[in-house]
């Protein structure tokens, strides 16, 4: 079974993040990491490969430095990678991004695509369904468990108060939450092996996507303004000396919560 994993390099959410002068996510800083949920997608793919055989290909779209994220996935155990890197893609919205990724999927042989349920930066959570709509594959998203049996995939789709069992025939596109597994750390051997693995770099032209359909100018949405939210400031902090709970209750009562 051949699996494609979608990963995205994002600014580290543990540090200050900002928009650039064009009101786009600033991706040029030094603090970029693999999207948090992407690691779970890579792990899910590796586990399925270990159980069913086949090959795991990582697919990403991003500037040249996204290679670091690609290398990490190869060190975890992915077999090869495709990196779409094109100046013209900067500022692409979700729709244009999905055009590029769908075009790349069209060149690859796959039975299953796995993505994180949402990215750590824009967090829209729409890419799997955008890609399913473009490729005609089944989409079973928000998984906390994936099973493949022959040509059939079964997914437990996580809900607020339970889960739905979804079944579909391959090819399929699934997305995963962090409830699905515990991602492995790259081993030293894996890190060494990653250096010899193939990373194919492609442009929009290579994929047959017209550059006028991607990038900031083609975006179907426009950010008009951005304002930093004033930081929350501390209110009243008391040290419990026997009646801290009563003081807290008095505050809650004054705010009409009790």
């Amino acid at each position: 079974m051949n699996i494609v994993v979608l990963v995205k390099q994002v600014p580290d959410s543990g540090l200050a993040r900002q928009l650039d002068a064009q009101l786009r996510v600033d991706r040029n800083g030094p603090n970029n990491v693999m999207g948090e949920l992407d690691e779970y997608a890579v792990e899910a793919a590796l586990q399925l490969k270990e159980a069913h055989g086949g090959e795991v290909t990582v697919l990403t779209l991003g500037p040249d430095q996204a290679t670091e994220t690609v290398r990490k996935t190869l060190a975890m155990g992915a077999d090869k990678a495709v990196h779409i890197s094109d100046e013209a893609a900067a500022g692409s919205d979700a729709l244009a991004t999905s055009k590029l990724l769908a075009a790349a999927l069209g060149r690859l042989e796959w039975d299953l695509v796995i993505a994180g349920a949402e990215s750590t930066d824009s967090g829209m959570g729409v890419m799997p369904h955008l890609l399913a709509a473009r490729t005609g594959a089944a989409a079973a998203t928000g998984a906390r468990k994936i099973d493949v049996d022959g040509d059939t995939i079964t997914v437990e789709h996580q809900r607020d108060n339970g889960y739905d069992v979804l079944t579909a025939s391959l090819p399929a596109i699934v997305s995963v939450w962090d409830t699905i597994n515990t991602p492995r750390y790259p081993s030293l051997k894996g890190i060494m092996a990653a250096k010899r693995k193939s990373v194919e770099t492609l442009t929009a032209a290579d994929l047959g996507v017209d550059p006028s359909e991607i990038g900031g100018d083609a975006a179907a949405t426009e950010v008009l303004s951005a304002t930093d939210r004033p930081e929350r400031t501390a209110g009243q902090i008391v040290t419990d000396e026997g009646d801290g709970g009563r003081q807290l209750a008095a505050f809650l009562a004054a705010e009409k919560f009790i």
Binding site: A94, Y163, D240
Partner: protein, 308 residues
């Protein structure tokens, strides 16, 4: 007046909020797949309801509804189409965007002539955006607005549809409910009471549950608490879990790592209880108690009981 389409799923409060927001923008036409949703649309001021009947629509994941919504959007030619920002709402919006080659905004927290507001970078920055291709297609985050009833008698138009075989790719074989008692859903709750590593064990989360029940709220947990197995993963509040924006957020035994703050910092009122006076959570709390949560919270329960 602008024409606003709204997808109304059965779940109550969030859909009522979207209908309320839609009303502030124009004449609302609701799309309902059951009687409960139709009733909700009437209560929250829809001028018109498409009451859709489609055999088997609930047996398949997303695609049948996406096709039906696409056809209705084509027919109605709305100025805006709003859906709740849920997994389903986002999936439907994504498919509408591709089918209609239309821009798409998700997790909108406000919408008016100035554009659509969104919280980005875990609420650190607020943006205003607009769609430049097509109509305003947006999913609206829970808590974006307060639901206000405006009962009316909308014109109900019955729409009968046959689910196409092409939309039967993903079958919903089983629905398994794991109810959290009578507690409200985490993303919709007005009050969320969360426990962190400081709770110390799965058994002691019972105290967090009791406080949540006393305040009529949902129970949440920090990533440290879910990773330690104190509470199920799906109740995690934070960057990788659920983002909540309740009227009141109670953080007990939670230090306030950015991972967690990302999921709750747009809460209206935040209170915190933590042994560690230097915990970052105190920097954002409206009221904080430096102390042992097992001393402080029982006292709160006692006082809440007295004030009933």
């Amino acid at each position: 007046m602008a024409d606003i389409l709204v997808y109304v799923p059965e779940s109550g409060k969030h859909a009522a909020e979207v209908l309320t927001l839609a009303r502030s923008l124009g004449d609302v036409t609701a799309i309902a797949f059951d009687d409960q949703s139709t009733a909700l649309a009437s209560e929250y001021g829809a001028a018109k309801v498409y009451r859709v009947t489609a055999d088997g629509v609930d047996d398949y994941f997303v695609e049948p509804k996406a096709t039906i919504l696409t056809d209705l959007a084509r027919q109605a030619g709305p100025d805006a189409f709003l859906l709740p920002s849920t997994d389903e709402g986002k999936a439907l919006a994504a498919r509408l965007a591709v089918a209609l080659d239309n821009g798409l905004l998700t997790d909108v927290t406000g919408l008016d002539a100035e554009g659509a507001r969104q919280d980005i970078f875990a609420g650190a920055t607020v943006t205003a955006s607009k769609i430049t291709k097509g109509f305003t297609l947006a999913t609206v985050k829970a808590g974006a607005t307060a639901a206000e009833p405006a009962p009316g008698e909308p014109a109900v138009e019955a729409v009968e549809v046959r689910v196409a075989d092409a939309d039967k790719r993903v079958r919903i074989a089983e629905r398994v409910d794991e109810p959290a008692g009578d507690r409200p859903g985490l993303s919709e709750a007005d009050v969320v009471v969360s426990g962190g590593r400081g709770v110390g064990s799965a058994e002691d989360f019972a105290l967090i549950e009791r406080v949540a029940d006393a305040l009529g709220g949902a129970v949440g947990a920090s990533r440290a608490a879910t990773d330690a197995g104190y509470y199920p993963h799906k109740f995690q509040v934070g960057q990788t879990g659920t983002t909540v924006s309740p009227q009141l957020y109670v953080a007990a035994g939670i230090s306030g790592a950015i991972q967690h703050r990302a999921g709750m910092q747009t809460s209206k009122v935040i209170v915190a209880v933590n042994k560690d006076a230097d915990a970052p959570i105190f920097g954002m709390a409206d009221f904080g108690v430096v102390g042992d949560l097992f001393e402080v919270l029982p006292q709160v329960l006692e006082e809440a009981e007295k004030r009933k």
